[in-house]
C-alpha cells in the first residue's frame, strides 16, 4: 500500500514531468496545432480582393475544390483542371511509391545481407543525398535530363539518337525526380525490417517445397510487411504534397496538389481555396493511411 509520502512523491514527479515537457508542448502548439487551426478557419472565410481573407463566413473555398463558378452566369461547373491535378498527384505519388519499393527492396536486401562492417558503410552511402539541399539536388536532375542535358548530349554524342528525348517538363521528369528524392525513405525502413528477418526461415521455406518466388511471396514479404508499410507511408505522404520537385522538373503545366495550393496563396489570390485544399489533402492522406494500415496489418496479428 502506498504511504502518504510515497503518494506525494509520485504527484511531484508527475508535476515535474509536465514541467519538463512544457517547452516542447508550447512549440508543438505554436508550430503545429495553431497554424492548422488558422488554416481551418481561413478555409471557411471569403477571399479578399488582393489575397488574404475577408472575415465573412463562406463555403466558397470548399466548393472551389471540385467546382468552378462560371464567369458569365455564375453557375457551378465541375473543375476539370482541378481533377486533372488531383489525379496526377495521386498517380505520381502511387507510382513513386511503387518504383521506390521495386528499387528499394533489392537494395535493402543487399545491404541487410552484407557483413556488419560493410552494412554500416552502405547505410552511410544511402544517407549522403540528405546532405545536400533538396532544391540543388532537383536542379542537378534538371541538368541531367533537360534537352541539352548530360543524358541527351551523351546519347547524341555517341550517335544513338539524333533528336533529344524530351523528358524535362513531363510527368516522367517529375517521377524520376521524386523517385530519386524519396528512395532513401523507402530503403531505410525496409532495411530495418529485413535486418530483423530470420534468414533461416528461407531454408525452412525451400525445404517445404516452396520455389524461390513462393518463398518471397509467402515467407519474406509477409514478415517484412511492417517495413513495407512504413516505407510506403514515408514515401507516399510527402509525395502527395510535393512542391519543389514538380515545380523544377514538371514546369508550370505539370502541377501537383502542392503547387496548386501554392498558386492559390500567390497568383491565384484565393486563400480560402488554398486553405480548403490543404485541409482536404490532410484528410485524404489520413483516411488513406487508416485504410492502408488496416489492410496491410490484417491477418498478421489476431489481437491487433
Amino acid at each position: 500500500m502506498a504511504s502518504e509520502a510515497e503518494r506525494a512523491q509520485a504527484a511531484a514527479s508527475t508535476r515535474n514531468a509536465w514541467l519538463l515537457s512544457t517547452p516542447a508542448l508550447v512549440l508543438l502548439f505554436c508550430a503545429a496545432a495553431g497554424p492548422l487551426l488558422i488554416v481551418l478557419v481561413y478555409s471557411f472565410l471569403a477571399k479578399g480582393d488582393y489575397g488574404g481573407v475577408a472575415w465573412n463566413f463562406s463555403t466558397d473555398g470548399w466548393v472551389g475544390i471540385l467546382f468552378s463558378r462560371d464567369i458569365f452566369d455564375d453557375t457551378l461547373q465541375l473543375a476539370d483542371a482541378h481533377l486533372t491535378i488531383f489525379w496526377r498527384s495521386v498517380k505520381i505519388s502511387l507510382l513513386t511509391t511503387l518504383i521506390t519499393f521495386a528499387l528499394g527492396f533489392p537494395t535493402a536486401w543487399f545491404i541487410a545481407t552484407r557483413p556488419p562492417k560493410a552494412r554500416a558503410m552502405w547505410l552511410f552511402l544511402i544517407t549522403i543525398p540528405f546532405w545536400t539541399n533538396l532544391l540543388i539536388r532537383t536542379f542537378a536532375i534538371n541538368e541531367m535530363i533537360r534537352n541539352e542535358g548530360v543524358v541527351n548530349s551523351f546519347l547524341q554524342g555517341i550517335g544513338l539518337i539524333s533528336e533529344p528525348i524530351r523528358m524535362i517538363n513531363t510527368d516522367l521528369a517529375v517521377l524520376i525526380g521524386m523517385t530519386y528524392v524519396y528512395l532513401p525513405l523507402m530503403v531505410l525502413p525496409l532495411f530495418a525490417a529485413i535486418d530483423r528477418f530470420d534468414m533461416r526461415l528461407l531454408e525452412a521455406g525451400y525445404d517445404l517445397y516452396a520455389s524461390r518466388l513462393q518463398v518471397l511471396r509467402h515467407v519474406i514479404l509477409p514478415i517484412v510487411k511492417p517495413g513495407i508499410v512504413a516505407g510506403s507511408i514515408l514515401v507516399f505522404v510527402p509525395s502527395l504534397g510535393a512542391y519543389v520537385t514538380p515545380r523544377v522538373l514538371g514546369g508550370g503545366k505539370n502541377m501537383m496538389i502542392g503547387n496548386f495550393i501554392e498558386l492559390q496563396f500567390g497568383q491565384g489570390r484565393n486563400w480560402p481555396l488554398g486553405a480548403a485544399l490543404s485541409i482536404a489533402l490532410l484528410l485524404i492522406v489520413m483516411i488513406a493511411l487508416i485504410f492502408y494500415v488496416r489492410a496491410a496489418t490484417k491477418g498478421s496479428n489476431p489481437h491487433g
Partner: protein
C-alpha cells in the same frame, strides 16, 4: 583415462578403411536388403568450404546407406561434418564431389524444394506470421494440395503431436517443447520419404529432452518414416537409434547398431567418444597382449605383434585383492562419487592410470582408501584391441 577426441590423429584414417567397412557390412550386416531400397545413399561425398589455402573439408569422401524405415543417427562432436551431411541430403548445400541418392533417385543437383525430404531445424525456424495450423499446412500448400486435403492432414498432424488445442495460436505463444512439436508436425505433414532432424532437442532442458526422445521414437514408429537424426549427445544416440554413424573430421569412423558401437568400438576415437574408456599400451604376443607392467592378458589380437592399443570400459575393471588369481597389482589414487557409481583412479606398476567404475554403496562413502594396494582384473572378453 578419459580421452578427448583426437582429431589430428584420426585425420589419417583413410576412406579405404571405411569402404572396407561398408563392404563388410554389406556381406553380413545388411542381410537381404538391396541397395535400391536404401532411403538415402551417399556415394563418395566430399564437401569443401573456402578456397585455395584455407580450404576446409567438412566431409571427406563419405559413403553410407540409410535404410528405409530406420532411425539413423549421425553422431559426433561439433565440426565433425554431421550437420553438413544432413544439409547435403536436404539440398541446402551441394557436394563438391560425389552423389546423393534419395530412394534410388540421384538428387545431387536438385534444390531442396524438389526433394522428398523435410527438415526439423535446430532453431525450429517456424514461420512467425502463420498460426500453428498454417505452419503445419505450409508444405502441403506449396505443393498445391487441395484445401480440404490440407485441413484433414493438418488435423491428423495436430493429433499426432497432441497440439489440437493450439491450432489457432501464434508460434510465439508456445513453449519450447510445443514449438518443437509444431516443427515436427510441419516436417511430417507432407509425408516425406526421409525426415532430417538437426539437433532438434539441443535447445530443450533435460526433462523435456527425455520426454521428446520418447516422443520422437514413437512418431518414427507410428509414421514408419525414415529418420536421420543429428546429435552430439551419445546417450541420445544410443537410446533412440537403430543404427549410428559415428563421425569425426569429416569421415564416418564407425557405423553400426548402438550395442555394436558401444561394445566393439573400432578405433580410439569411437571408444573415447561413446562412453568412458581406458586405453592401455601393450605389445602383441602369442595368445594375447603384454602390458607395460609385464602381465599378459587374453585379447584377440588377430595375431598382430608389436605396439597395440587396448581399450577396456571402466565398468569392466574389477577391483580385488593383490594376491587374487590373475590380478594385476595396482594402487588406488583417488575416487569420485557419481551418485549411482563410484569411480576409482588406479595406477598400474608401470605408471599408467586406469579408471574403474563400481556401484556405490548405500552411504556413498569410498569403500577403498586412497593409497590402498589392490589388484585389478578385467571381465572376460571386455578388453578390445583398437585398429589404431
Amino acid at each position: 583415462m578419459r580421452e578427448g577426441p583426437r582429431f589430428l590423429l584420426l585425420n589419417r584414417i583413410g576412406c579405404t578403411q571405411y569402404d572396407q567397412n561398408i563392404r563388410k557390412m554389406k556381406t553380413h550386416d545388411r542381410g537381404d536388403l538391396l541397395a535400391e531400397t536404401a532411403a538415402i545413399m551417399a556415394k563418395g561425398v566430399t564437401k569443401a568450404f573456402g578456397q585455395g589455402e584455407t580450404v576446409v573439408r567438412a566431409l571427406d569422401n563419405v559413403s553410407c546407406e540409410i535404410r528405409t524405415g530406420e532411425f539413423f543417427t549421425l553422431l559426433g562432436p561439433s565440426g565433425c561434418g554431421k550437420t553438413t551431411l544432413l544439409r547435403l541430403i536436404a539440398g541446402f548445400e551441394m557436394p563438391t564431389d560425389g552423389q546423393i541418392l534419395i530412394d534410388g533417385q540421384d538428387v545431387t543437383g536438385q534444390p531442396p524444394n524438389k526433394r522428398a525430404v523435410n527438415t526439423v531445424f535446430q532453431s525450429y525456424a517456424l514461420f512467425p506470421h502463420l498460426s500453428v495450423a498454417e505452419n503445419i499446412g505450409f508444405g502441403l500448400r506449396m505443393k498445391g494440395i487441395a484445401r480440404a486435403e490440407i485441413d484433414r492432414t493438418v488435423k491428423e498432424m495436430l493429433a499426432l503431436v497432441k497440439l489440437e488445442a493450439m491450432a489457432g495460436r501464434r508460434t510465439s505463444q508456445l513453449s519450447g517443447g510445443q514449438q518443437q512439436r509444431v516443427a515436427l508436425a510441419r516436417a511430417l505433414a507432407p509425408r516425406p520419404k526421409v525426415l532430417l532432424l538437426d539437433e532438434p532437442l539441443s535447445a530443450l532442458d533435460l526433462k523435456l529432452r527425455k520426454e521428446m526422445q520418447v516422443e520422437l521414437k514413437r512418431l518414427q514408429t507410428e509414421t514408419g518414416i525414415t529418420f536421420v537424426f543429428v546429435t552430439h549427445d551419445q546417450e541420445e544416440a544410443l537410446t533412440m537409434s537403430d543404427r549410428i554413424a559415428v563421425m569425426s573430421a569429416g569421415r564416418i569412423q564407425q557405423l553400426g547398431a548402438p550395442r555394436e558401437i558401444y561394445t566393439r568400438p573400432r578405433n580410439r576415437f569411437v571408444a573415447s567418444f561413446i562412453g568412458d574408456t581406458n586405453f592401455l599400451g601393450a605389445t602383441g604376443v602369442p595368445g594375447g597382449a603384454k602390458l607395460g607392467s609385464g602381465q599378459v592378458i587374453a585379447v584377440d589380437t588377430g595375431g598382430k605383434g608389436g605396439q597395440i592399443t587396448l581399450a577396456v570400459r571402466p565398468e569392466h575393471v574389477e577391483i580385488t585383492t593383490p594376491d587374487a588369481e590373475g590380478a594385476i597389482p595396482a594402487e588406488v589414487h583417488g575416487s569420485v562419487y557419481f551418485g549411482t557409481d563410484m569411480n576409482y583412479q588406479i595406477a598400474l606398476a608401470d605408471g599408467s592410470e586406469i579408471e574403474a567404475c563400481v556401484q556405490s554403496g548405500v552411504t556413498g562413502e569410498a569403500q577403498i582408501d586412497r593409497g590402498a594396494k589392490v589388484g585389478i582384473r578385467f571381465a572376460p572378453g571386455s578388453v578390445l584391441m583398437l585398429e589404431d
